[in-house]
Protein backbone atom coordinates (compact mmCIF):
# COMPACT_ATOMS: atom_id res chain seq x y z
CA UNK A 1 0.00 0.00 0.00
CA UNK A 2 2.75 2.39 1.01
CA UNK A 3 4.62 1.45 -2.16
CA UNK A 4 1.52 2.15 -4.27
CA UNK A 5 1.07 5.57 -2.67
CA UNK A 6 4.73 6.40 -3.04
CA UNK A 7 4.73 5.32 -6.69
CA UNK A 8 1.56 7.33 -7.37
CA UNK A 9 3.09 10.37 -5.67
CA UNK A 10 6.31 10.07 -7.66
CA UNK A 11 4.45 9.58 -10.97
CA UNK A 12 2.08 12.47 -10.39
CA UNK A 13 4.99 14.71 -9.43
CA UNK A 14 6.65 13.65 -12.69
CA UNK A 15 3.60 14.72 -14.68
CA UNK A 16 3.74 18.35 -13.52
CA UNK A 17 6.55 20.50 -14.85
CA UNK A 18 9.13 21.24 -12.13
CA UNK A 19 9.77 24.85 -11.23
CA UNK A 20 13.38 25.78 -11.97
CA UNK A 21 15.06 28.42 -9.83
CA UNK A 22 15.28 31.97 -11.14
CA UNK A 23 18.80 31.69 -12.48
CA UNK A 24 18.29 28.48 -14.41
CA UNK A 25 14.99 29.71 -15.87
CA UNK A 26 16.72 32.91 -16.98
CA UNK A 27 19.54 30.94 -18.64
CA UNK A 28 17.01 28.78 -20.48
CA UNK A 29 15.01 31.83 -21.52
CA UNK A 30 18.12 33.60 -22.72
CA UNK A 31 19.11 30.59 -24.79
CA UNK A 32 15.66 30.35 -26.35
CA UNK A 33 15.58 34.07 -27.17
CA UNK A 34 19.12 33.95 -28.53
CA UNK A 35 18.31 30.92 -30.76
CA UNK A 36 15.18 32.63 -32.03
CA UNK A 37 17.08 35.85 -32.67
CA UNK A 38 19.70 33.96 -34.72
CA UNK A 39 16.99 32.27 -36.78
CA UNK A 40 15.11 35.55 -37.41
CA UNK A 41 18.32 37.33 -38.43
CA UNK A 42 19.22 34.47 -40.76
CA UNK A 43 15.79 34.68 -42.39
CA UNK A 44 16.24 38.43 -42.81
CA UNK A 45 19.75 38.04 -44.26
CA UNK A 46 18.56 35.39 -46.73
CA UNK A 47 15.61 37.54 -47.87
CA UNK A 48 17.83 40.57 -48.41
CA UNK A 49 20.36 38.49 -50.35
CA UNK A 50 17.55 37.18 -52.55
CA UNK A 51 16.47 40.75 -53.22
CA UNK A 52 20.00 41.41 -54.48
CA UNK A 53 19.82 38.32 -56.71
CA UNK A 54 22.38 36.37 -54.70
CA UNK A 55 20.32 33.39 -53.49
CA UNK A 56 18.28 30.75 -55.34
CA UNK A 57 14.55 30.47 -54.63
CA UNK A 58 14.81 26.92 -53.31
CA UNK A 59 17.79 27.73 -51.13
CA UNK A 60 15.89 30.68 -49.65
CA UNK A 61 12.88 28.45 -49.07
CA UNK A 62 14.97 25.88 -47.16
CA UNK A 63 16.64 28.56 -45.06
CA UNK A 64 13.22 30.01 -44.18
CA UNK A 65 11.80 26.58 -43.28
CA UNK A 66 14.84 25.94 -41.04
CA UNK A 67 14.39 29.34 -39.39
CA UNK A 68 10.70 28.71 -38.82
CA UNK A 69 11.48 25.38 -37.15
CA UNK A 70 14.20 26.94 -34.99
CA UNK A 71 11.95 29.76 -33.73
CA UNK A 72 9.11 27.32 -33.07
CA UNK A 73 11.43 25.00 -31.17
CA UNK A 74 12.77 27.86 -29.07
CA UNK A 75 9.21 28.89 -28.16
CA UNK A 76 8.19 25.33 -27.29
CA UNK A 77 11.27 24.80 -25.13
CA UNK A 78 10.79 27.83 -22.91
CA UNK A 79 6.99 27.78 -23.08
CA UNK A 80 6.86 24.33 -21.47
CA UNK A 81 9.03 25.37 -18.52
CA UNK A 82 7.28 26.52 -15.37
CA UNK A 83 8.53 30.05 -14.61
CA UNK A 84 9.45 31.00 -11.04
CA UNK A 85 6.91 33.39 -9.49
CA UNK A 86 9.28 36.36 -9.79
CA UNK A 87 9.71 35.76 -13.51
CA UNK A 88 6.03 35.55 -14.52
CA UNK A 89 6.07 38.96 -16.13
CA UNK A 90 9.15 38.21 -18.20
CA UNK A 91 7.80 34.76 -19.04
CA UNK A 92 4.85 36.50 -20.70
CA UNK A 93 7.20 38.86 -22.53
CA UNK A 94 9.47 36.02 -23.70
CA UNK A 95 6.69 33.71 -24.88
CA UNK A 96 4.80 36.63 -26.43
CA UNK A 97 7.81 37.82 -28.44
CA UNK A 98 8.75 34.31 -29.48
CA UNK A 99 5.19 33.69 -30.68
CA UNK A 100 5.29 36.94 -32.59
CA UNK A 101 8.64 36.08 -34.17
CA UNK A 102 7.42 32.59 -35.08
CA UNK A 103 4.33 34.05 -36.74
CA UNK A 104 6.42 36.53 -38.68
CA UNK A 105 8.87 33.91 -39.94
CA UNK A 106 5.88 31.75 -40.96
CA UNK A 107 4.44 34.67 -42.93
CA UNK A 108 7.81 35.13 -44.63
CA UNK A 109 8.04 31.41 -45.43
CA UNK A 110 4.55 31.45 -46.94
CA UNK A 111 5.50 34.44 -49.09
CA UNK A 112 8.68 32.70 -50.22
CA UNK A 113 6.92 29.44 -51.10
CA UNK A 114 4.33 31.43 -53.08
CA UNK A 115 7.15 33.47 -54.69
CA UNK A 116 5.60 36.81 -53.65
CA UNK A 117 8.91 38.54 -54.28
CA UNK A 118 7.45 42.07 -54.04
CA UNK A 119 6.83 41.46 -50.30
CA UNK A 120 10.37 40.32 -49.47
CA UNK A 121 11.72 43.79 -48.76
CA UNK A 122 9.02 44.76 -46.28
CA UNK A 123 9.16 41.33 -44.66
CA UNK A 124 12.91 41.69 -44.22
CA UNK A 125 12.32 45.05 -42.49
CA UNK A 126 9.79 43.48 -40.14
CA UNK A 127 12.14 40.61 -39.40
CA UNK A 128 14.88 43.13 -38.63
CA UNK A 129 12.63 44.88 -36.10
CA UNK A 130 11.68 41.53 -34.54
CA UNK A 131 15.34 40.55 -34.25
CA UNK A 132 16.16 43.86 -32.58
CA UNK A 133 13.34 43.37 -30.09
CA UNK A 134 14.60 39.86 -29.33
CA UNK A 135 18.11 41.17 -28.79
CA UNK A 136 16.83 43.78 -26.32
CA UNK A 137 14.99 41.02 -24.49
CA UNK A 138 18.16 38.91 -24.51
CA UNK A 139 20.07 41.80 -22.91
CA UNK A 140 17.36 42.27 -20.31
CA UNK A 141 17.47 38.57 -19.40
CA UNK A 142 21.09 38.89 -18.40
CA UNK A 143 19.91 40.46 -15.15
CA UNK A 144 17.52 39.24 -12.44
CA UNK A 145 14.04 40.84 -12.58
CA UNK A 146 13.74 44.35 -11.20
CA UNK A 147 11.83 44.32 -7.91
CA UNK A 148 9.05 46.89 -7.65
CA UNK A 149 9.35 49.63 -5.01
Amino acid sequence: MVWCLATTAVLSAGCAPGTPDGDSWRIDAQRAVSDASSAVQTAELALRQHDRGRVFDRYLQTVLVDSEEAVGKAGDTIGSKQPPRAERERYDAVTGQLDEAAGLVSIARIAVVDRETDRYDSLADRLESAAQALQRLDDDLQHPPRTSG
Binding site: S38, A46, Q49, R54, F56, Y59
Partner: protein, 409 residues
Amino acid sequence: MKKVFSVALGVLTAIGGFVDIGDLVTNAQVGARFGLSLGWVVVAGILGICVFAEMSGRVAAVSQRATFDLIRERLGPRMGMANLVASMSVTLLTFIAEIGGVALALQLVSSVNYVLLVPFIAFAVWLILWRAKFSVMENVLGLVGLALVVFGVALWQLGPDWGDLTHRMLAVDKPGDEQWRTWAYYAVALFGAALTPYEVFFFSSGGVEERWTVEDLGTMRTNVFIGFPLGGMLSLAIAGSAAVVFGPMDASVDTLGQVGLPVAVALGKIGLAVALIGFVAATLGAACECGLSVGYSIAQFSGWQWGKYVRADVAARFHVILVLSAVVATGVLMTTVDPILVTEASVVFSAVALPLTYFPILVVANDPDYMGDHTNGRLANALGSVYLVVIGVAALAAIPLMVVTRMGA
Protein backbone atom coordinates in the same frame (compact mmCIF):
# COMPACT_ATOMS: atom_id res chain seq x y z
CA MET B 1 55.50 13.39 -66.13
CA LYS B 2 53.20 10.59 -65.08
CA LYS B 3 54.74 10.72 -61.60
CA VAL B 4 54.16 14.48 -61.35
CA PHE B 5 50.57 14.03 -62.44
CA SER B 6 50.07 11.29 -59.89
CA VAL B 7 51.49 13.44 -57.07
CA ALA B 8 49.45 16.47 -58.11
CA LEU B 9 46.29 14.38 -58.31
CA GLY B 10 46.98 12.92 -54.87
CA VAL B 11 47.52 16.37 -53.35
CA LEU B 12 44.39 17.80 -54.98
CA THR B 13 42.20 14.91 -53.84
CA ALA B 14 43.68 15.18 -50.35
CA ILE B 15 42.69 18.87 -50.28
CA GLY B 16 39.23 18.28 -51.73
CA GLY B 17 38.59 15.23 -49.57
CA PHE B 18 39.72 16.79 -46.30
CA VAL B 19 36.53 18.60 -45.35
CA ASP B 20 33.45 16.65 -44.26
CA ILE B 21 30.13 17.49 -42.60
CA GLY B 22 31.83 17.69 -39.18
CA ASP B 23 34.34 20.26 -40.45
CA LEU B 24 31.65 22.23 -42.31
CA VAL B 25 29.30 22.51 -39.35
CA THR B 26 31.78 22.81 -36.49
CA ASN B 27 33.99 25.39 -38.19
CA ALA B 28 31.02 27.54 -39.17
CA GLN B 29 29.53 27.31 -35.65
CA VAL B 30 32.84 28.19 -34.05
CA GLY B 31 33.54 30.98 -36.53
CA ALA B 32 30.17 32.62 -35.88
CA ARG B 33 30.53 32.47 -32.09
CA PHE B 34 34.26 32.73 -31.47
CA GLY B 35 35.67 34.28 -34.65
CA LEU B 36 39.05 32.75 -35.39
CA SER B 37 40.00 32.57 -31.72
CA LEU B 38 39.95 28.76 -31.97
CA GLY B 39 41.82 28.69 -35.29
CA TRP B 40 44.92 27.39 -33.49
CA VAL B 41 42.97 24.22 -32.60
CA VAL B 42 42.38 23.58 -36.30
CA VAL B 43 46.10 24.04 -36.95
CA ALA B 44 46.97 21.68 -34.07
CA GLY B 45 44.44 19.15 -35.35
CA ILE B 46 45.85 19.29 -38.88
CA LEU B 47 49.39 18.69 -37.61
CA GLY B 48 48.06 15.77 -35.54
CA ILE B 49 46.27 14.13 -38.46
CA CYS B 50 49.39 14.59 -40.60
CA VAL B 51 51.56 12.85 -37.99
CA PHE B 52 49.28 9.83 -37.61
CA ALA B 53 48.20 9.59 -41.26
CA GLU B 54 51.87 9.48 -42.28
CA MET B 55 52.47 6.68 -39.75
CA SER B 56 49.48 4.64 -40.86
CA GLY B 57 50.28 5.24 -44.56
CA ARG B 58 53.87 4.14 -43.94
CA VAL B 59 52.66 0.99 -42.18
CA ALA B 60 50.44 0.19 -45.18
CA ALA B 61 53.22 0.85 -47.70
CA VAL B 62 55.90 -1.13 -45.86
CA SER B 63 53.88 -4.10 -44.59
CA GLN B 64 51.23 -4.10 -47.35
CA ARG B 65 48.75 -4.54 -44.53
CA ALA B 66 46.40 -1.93 -43.08
CA THR B 67 47.34 -0.63 -39.64
CA PHE B 68 44.25 -2.06 -37.99
CA ASP B 69 44.88 -5.39 -39.64
CA LEU B 70 47.98 -5.53 -37.45
CA ILE B 71 46.56 -4.20 -34.20
CA ARG B 72 44.89 -7.39 -33.07
CA GLU B 73 47.98 -9.40 -34.02
CA ARG B 74 50.37 -6.98 -32.31
CA LEU B 75 48.36 -5.88 -29.26
CA GLY B 76 46.11 -8.87 -28.68
CA PRO B 77 42.35 -9.43 -29.00
CA ARG B 78 41.38 -7.26 -25.98
CA MET B 79 43.13 -4.15 -27.21
CA GLY B 80 41.97 -4.98 -30.72
CA MET B 81 38.37 -5.23 -29.55
CA ALA B 82 38.59 -1.97 -27.58
CA ASN B 83 40.00 -0.29 -30.66
CA LEU B 84 37.33 -1.83 -32.87
CA VAL B 85 34.38 -0.88 -30.65
CA ALA B 86 35.56 2.69 -30.07
CA SER B 87 36.67 3.53 -33.59
CA MET B 88 33.97 1.64 -35.43
CA SER B 89 31.13 3.11 -33.33
CA VAL B 90 32.35 6.63 -33.99
CA THR B 91 32.88 5.86 -37.67
CA LEU B 92 29.33 4.51 -37.97
CA LEU B 93 28.01 7.64 -36.24
CA THR B 94 30.06 9.76 -38.64
CA PHE B 95 28.71 7.71 -41.57
CA ILE B 96 25.15 8.52 -40.46
CA ALA B 97 26.09 12.20 -40.14
CA GLU B 98 27.66 12.26 -43.61
CA ILE B 99 24.62 10.68 -45.28
CA GLY B 100 22.48 13.21 -43.41
CA GLY B 101 24.86 15.90 -44.66
CA VAL B 102 24.38 14.85 -48.30
CA ALA B 103 20.61 14.91 -47.73
CA LEU B 104 20.77 18.41 -46.20
CA ALA B 105 22.92 19.65 -49.09
CA LEU B 106 20.47 18.26 -51.65
CA GLN B 107 17.57 19.73 -49.67
CA LEU B 108 19.14 23.15 -50.19
CA VAL B 109 19.09 22.54 -53.94
CA SER B 110 15.69 20.90 -54.22
CA SER B 111 13.79 22.11 -51.11
CA VAL B 112 12.61 18.49 -50.71
CA ASN B 113 12.68 17.45 -47.05
CA TYR B 114 15.94 15.66 -46.25
CA VAL B 115 14.16 12.67 -44.70
CA LEU B 116 12.63 11.82 -48.09
CA LEU B 117 16.04 11.99 -49.73
CA VAL B 118 17.87 9.77 -47.24
CA PRO B 119 16.90 6.31 -48.66
CA PHE B 120 17.97 7.34 -52.17
CA ILE B 121 21.28 8.76 -50.93
CA ALA B 122 22.04 5.69 -48.83
CA PHE B 123 21.30 3.53 -51.88
CA ALA B 124 23.54 5.71 -54.05
CA VAL B 125 26.37 5.48 -51.52
CA TRP B 126 26.03 1.71 -51.39
CA LEU B 127 25.99 1.55 -55.19
CA ILE B 128 29.20 3.60 -55.38
CA LEU B 129 30.84 1.35 -52.79
CA TRP B 130 29.65 -1.74 -54.66
CA ARG B 131 30.37 -0.76 -58.26
CA ALA B 132 32.79 2.19 -58.54
CA LYS B 133 36.51 1.61 -58.80
CA PHE B 134 38.37 2.72 -55.68
CA SER B 135 40.58 5.21 -57.53
CA VAL B 136 37.65 6.66 -59.50
CA MET B 137 35.60 7.12 -56.34
CA GLU B 138 38.47 8.78 -54.47
CA ASN B 139 39.67 11.00 -57.31
CA VAL B 140 36.31 12.18 -58.66
CA LEU B 141 34.79 13.06 -55.30
CA GLY B 142 38.08 14.54 -54.03
CA LEU B 143 38.49 16.74 -57.09
CA VAL B 144 34.86 17.93 -57.06
CA GLY B 145 35.27 18.59 -53.32
CA LEU B 146 37.82 21.22 -54.31
CA ALA B 147 34.78 23.39 -55.07
CA LEU B 148 34.90 24.30 -51.37
CA VAL B 149 37.86 26.53 -52.22
CA VAL B 150 35.02 28.98 -52.92
CA PHE B 151 34.98 29.67 -49.16
CA GLY B 152 38.53 31.01 -49.42
CA VAL B 153 37.51 33.25 -52.32
CA ALA B 154 34.42 34.36 -50.40
CA LEU B 155 36.47 35.26 -47.34
CA TRP B 156 38.84 37.33 -49.46
CA GLN B 157 35.88 38.99 -51.22
CA LEU B 158 34.19 39.79 -47.89
CA GLY B 159 37.21 41.95 -47.13
CA PRO B 160 37.78 41.20 -43.47
CA ASP B 161 40.28 43.02 -41.30
CA TRP B 162 43.09 40.50 -41.86
CA GLY B 163 45.18 41.93 -39.04
CA ASP B 164 42.33 41.49 -36.59
CA LEU B 165 41.57 37.95 -37.83
CA THR B 166 45.22 36.93 -37.49
CA HIS B 167 45.53 38.57 -34.09
CA ARG B 168 42.46 36.72 -32.80
CA MET B 169 43.82 33.44 -34.15
CA LEU B 170 47.15 33.88 -32.39
CA ALA B 171 45.77 35.17 -29.09
CA VAL B 172 44.31 32.33 -27.03
CA ASP B 173 41.25 34.26 -25.89
CA LYS B 174 37.46 34.16 -26.14
CA PRO B 175 34.78 36.77 -26.85
CA GLY B 176 33.67 38.55 -23.66
CA ASP B 177 30.12 37.17 -23.68
CA GLU B 178 31.21 33.51 -23.92
CA GLN B 179 32.25 31.22 -21.06
CA TRP B 180 35.59 29.44 -20.92
CA ARG B 181 33.91 26.04 -20.57
CA THR B 182 31.94 26.63 -23.80
CA TRP B 183 35.15 27.75 -25.46
CA ALA B 184 36.84 24.53 -24.23
CA TYR B 185 33.93 22.40 -25.46
CA TYR B 186 34.24 23.80 -28.97
CA ALA B 187 38.03 23.41 -28.85
CA VAL B 188 37.54 19.69 -28.15
CA ALA B 189 34.87 19.43 -30.87
CA LEU B 190 37.12 21.11 -33.46
CA PHE B 191 40.00 18.85 -32.47
CA GLY B 192 37.73 15.80 -32.81
CA ALA B 193 36.50 17.02 -36.20
CA ALA B 194 40.06 17.42 -37.50
CA LEU B 195 41.27 14.04 -36.21
CA THR B 196 38.19 11.89 -36.98
CA PRO B 197 39.23 8.21 -36.68
CA TYR B 198 37.84 7.20 -40.08
CA GLU B 199 40.44 9.36 -41.81
CA VAL B 200 43.32 7.09 -40.74
CA PHE B 201 41.22 3.94 -41.18
CA PHE B 202 40.52 4.96 -44.74
CA PHE B 203 44.01 6.26 -45.44
CA SER B 204 45.83 3.11 -44.36
CA SER B 205 43.32 0.68 -45.84
CA GLY B 206 43.21 2.76 -49.03
CA GLY B 207 46.99 2.37 -49.24
CA VAL B 208 46.53 -1.39 -49.29
CA GLU B 209 43.70 -1.08 -51.83
CA GLU B 210 46.02 0.91 -54.11
CA ARG B 211 48.91 -1.51 -53.47
CA TRP B 212 51.36 1.04 -52.10
CA THR B 213 54.94 -0.11 -51.67
CA VAL B 214 58.01 1.48 -50.10
CA GLU B 215 58.54 3.31 -53.39
CA ASP B 216 55.27 5.16 -52.85
CA LEU B 217 56.34 6.62 -49.50
CA GLY B 218 57.42 9.91 -51.10
CA THR B 219 54.10 10.39 -52.89
CA MET B 220 52.18 9.44 -49.75
CA ARG B 221 54.13 11.98 -47.66
CA THR B 222 53.59 14.71 -50.26
CA ASN B 223 49.85 14.04 -50.15
CA VAL B 224 49.82 14.15 -46.37
CA PHE B 225 52.13 17.08 -45.71
CA ILE B 226 50.89 19.32 -48.53
CA GLY B 227 47.34 18.10 -49.21
CA PHE B 228 46.07 17.84 -45.64
CA PRO B 229 47.30 21.29 -44.48
CA LEU B 230 45.85 22.92 -47.59
CA GLY B 231 42.60 21.04 -46.95
CA GLY B 232 42.72 22.33 -43.40
CA MET B 233 42.96 25.87 -44.77
CA LEU B 234 39.45 25.32 -46.17
CA SER B 235 38.26 24.70 -42.61
CA LEU B 236 39.76 28.04 -41.55
CA ALA B 237 38.16 29.77 -44.54
CA ILE B 238 34.74 28.38 -43.55
CA ALA B 239 35.24 29.61 -39.98
CA GLY B 240 36.52 32.99 -41.22
CA SER B 241 33.56 33.52 -43.57
CA ALA B 242 31.07 32.69 -40.80
CA ALA B 243 32.95 35.02 -38.44
CA VAL B 244 32.72 37.94 -40.87
CA VAL B 245 29.02 37.50 -41.73
CA PHE B 246 27.45 36.10 -38.54
CA GLY B 247 29.85 37.47 -35.91
CA PRO B 248 28.63 41.10 -36.05
CA MET B 249 25.00 39.88 -35.97
CA ASP B 250 25.74 37.86 -32.83
CA ALA B 251 23.92 34.97 -34.52
CA SER B 252 24.69 31.28 -34.10
CA VAL B 253 24.98 28.79 -36.97
CA ASP B 254 22.83 25.69 -36.63
CA THR B 255 22.00 24.65 -40.20
CA LEU B 256 23.85 23.84 -43.42
CA GLY B 257 21.89 26.60 -45.16
CA GLN B 258 23.52 29.12 -42.84
CA VAL B 259 26.99 27.68 -43.58
CA GLY B 260 26.55 28.60 -47.27
CA LEU B 261 25.10 32.09 -46.77
CA PRO B 262 28.48 33.90 -46.42
CA VAL B 263 29.39 32.63 -49.89
CA ALA B 264 26.11 34.00 -51.26
CA VAL B 265 26.77 37.35 -49.57
CA ALA B 266 30.25 37.54 -51.09
CA LEU B 267 29.88 35.90 -54.49
CA GLY B 268 26.19 35.64 -55.32
CA LYS B 269 24.44 32.75 -57.05
CA ILE B 270 27.46 31.42 -58.93
CA GLY B 271 29.52 31.21 -55.75
CA LEU B 272 26.60 29.63 -53.90
CA ALA B 273 26.16 27.04 -56.66
CA VAL B 274 29.84 26.13 -56.42
CA ALA B 275 29.57 25.89 -52.63
CA LEU B 276 26.56 23.58 -52.97
CA ILE B 277 28.48 21.33 -55.35
CA GLY B 278 31.29 21.32 -52.78
CA PHE B 279 28.87 20.41 -49.96
CA VAL B 280 27.50 17.44 -51.92
CA ALA B 281 30.93 16.21 -53.03
CA ALA B 282 32.53 16.63 -49.60
CA THR B 283 29.75 14.86 -47.71
CA LEU B 284 29.26 12.16 -50.35
CA GLY B 285 33.00 11.50 -50.50
CA ALA B 286 33.19 11.33 -46.70
CA ALA B 287 30.12 9.06 -46.59
CA CYS B 288 31.85 6.63 -48.97
CA GLU B 289 35.06 6.76 -46.93
CA CYS B 290 33.16 6.20 -43.65
CA GLY B 291 31.08 3.37 -45.10
CA LEU B 292 34.20 1.62 -46.34
CA SER B 293 35.96 2.29 -43.02
CA VAL B 294 33.18 0.55 -41.08
CA GLY B 295 33.61 -2.48 -43.36
CA TYR B 296 37.42 -2.30 -43.18
CA SER B 297 37.51 -2.19 -39.37
CA ILE B 298 35.16 -5.13 -38.77
CA ALA B 299 36.60 -7.27 -41.56
CA GLN B 300 40.20 -6.58 -40.56
CA PHE B 301 39.52 -7.38 -36.91
CA SER B 302 37.69 -10.58 -37.83
CA GLY B 303 40.33 -11.67 -40.31
CA TRP B 304 37.88 -11.69 -43.25
CA GLN B 305 38.80 -10.87 -46.82
CA TRP B 306 38.14 -7.18 -47.37
CA GLY B 307 38.46 -4.34 -49.84
CA LYS B 308 37.39 -3.25 -53.27
CA TYR B 309 40.55 -4.62 -54.86
CA VAL B 310 39.18 -8.15 -54.55
CA ARG B 311 36.05 -9.48 -56.22
CA ALA B 312 32.82 -8.90 -54.30
CA ASP B 313 32.05 -12.61 -53.97
CA VAL B 314 35.48 -13.17 -52.40
CA ALA B 315 34.87 -10.41 -49.84
CA ALA B 316 31.17 -11.19 -49.39
CA ARG B 317 31.06 -10.53 -45.62
CA PHE B 318 32.80 -7.19 -46.11
CA HIS B 319 30.13 -6.19 -48.63
CA VAL B 320 27.35 -7.39 -46.33
CA ILE B 321 28.68 -4.98 -43.68
CA LEU B 322 28.52 -2.15 -46.22
CA VAL B 323 24.88 -2.99 -46.95
CA LEU B 324 24.01 -3.20 -43.24
CA SER B 325 25.76 0.10 -42.52
CA ALA B 326 23.70 1.82 -45.21
CA VAL B 327 20.51 0.25 -43.80
CA VAL B 328 21.37 1.34 -40.23
CA ALA B 329 22.17 4.88 -41.38
CA THR B 330 18.89 5.08 -43.28
CA GLY B 331 16.94 3.74 -40.29
CA VAL B 332 18.48 6.24 -37.88
CA LEU B 333 17.97 9.23 -40.17
CA MET B 334 14.39 8.20 -41.00
CA THR B 335 13.54 8.73 -37.32
CA THR B 336 13.84 12.46 -38.28
CA VAL B 337 16.77 12.96 -35.93
CA ASP B 338 18.52 16.21 -36.83
CA PRO B 339 21.65 15.35 -38.90
CA ILE B 340 23.37 18.44 -37.49
CA LEU B 341 22.84 17.06 -33.97
CA VAL B 342 24.27 13.71 -35.10
CA THR B 343 27.23 15.59 -36.55
CA GLU B 344 27.82 17.49 -33.31
CA ALA B 345 27.68 14.25 -31.35
CA SER B 346 30.00 12.48 -33.81
CA VAL B 347 32.80 15.04 -33.49
CA VAL B 348 32.63 14.98 -29.69
CA PHE B 349 32.60 11.17 -29.53
CA SER B 350 35.45 11.23 -32.04
CA ALA B 351 37.47 13.06 -29.43
CA VAL B 352 36.55 10.38 -26.87
CA ALA B 353 37.71 7.57 -29.17
CA LEU B 354 40.95 9.21 -30.27
CA PRO B 355 43.37 7.50 -27.82
CA LEU B 356 42.07 4.04 -28.72
CA THR B 357 42.53 4.83 -32.40
CA TYR B 358 45.91 6.53 -32.36
CA PHE B 359 47.84 4.74 -29.59
CA PRO B 360 47.94 1.42 -31.53
CA ILE B 361 49.21 3.23 -34.64
CA LEU B 362 52.16 4.56 -32.66
CA VAL B 363 52.91 1.06 -31.35
CA VAL B 364 52.72 -0.67 -34.74
CA ALA B 365 54.73 2.08 -36.47
CA ASN B 366 57.54 1.43 -33.95
CA ASP B 367 57.62 -2.34 -34.41
CA PRO B 368 60.65 -3.42 -36.48
CA ASP B 369 59.05 -6.82 -37.13
CA TYR B 370 56.48 -5.11 -39.35
CA MET B 371 58.34 -1.97 -40.33
CA GLY B 372 61.95 -3.15 -40.84
CA ASP B 373 64.07 -0.03 -41.42
CA HIS B 374 61.00 2.18 -41.65
CA THR B 375 60.08 2.43 -37.97
CA ASN B 376 59.30 5.87 -36.55
CA GLY B 377 62.16 8.34 -36.31
CA ARG B 378 62.73 10.55 -33.27
CA LEU B 379 60.62 13.40 -34.60
CA ALA B 380 57.65 11.15 -35.42
CA ASN B 381 57.85 9.56 -31.98
CA ALA B 382 58.20 12.89 -30.20
CA LEU B 383 55.24 14.38 -32.05
CA GLY B 384 53.24 11.17 -31.68
CA SER B 385 53.85 11.08 -27.92
CA VAL B 386 52.97 14.75 -27.42
CA TYR B 387 49.79 14.25 -29.41
CA LEU B 388 48.83 11.19 -27.41
CA VAL B 389 48.94 13.31 -24.25
CA VAL B 390 46.83 16.05 -25.89
CA ILE B 391 44.44 13.44 -27.29
CA GLY B 392 44.13 11.86 -23.84
CA VAL B 393 43.23 15.20 -22.26
CA ALA B 394 40.67 15.92 -25.01
CA ALA B 395 39.16 12.44 -24.61
CA LEU B 396 38.78 12.82 -20.84
CA ALA B 397 37.34 16.32 -21.10
CA ALA B 398 34.90 15.68 -23.98
CA ILE B 399 31.92 14.11 -22.17
CA PRO B 400 32.07 16.30 -19.02
CA LEU B 401 32.27 19.41 -21.19
CA MET B 402 29.38 18.19 -23.33
CA VAL B 403 27.26 17.73 -20.19
CA VAL B 404 28.12 20.97 -18.38
CA THR B 405 27.76 23.14 -21.48
CA ARG B 406 24.67 21.26 -22.73
CA MET B 407 26.43 20.66 -26.05
CA GLY B 408 27.88 24.12 -26.24
CA ALA B 409 24.68 26.05 -25.50
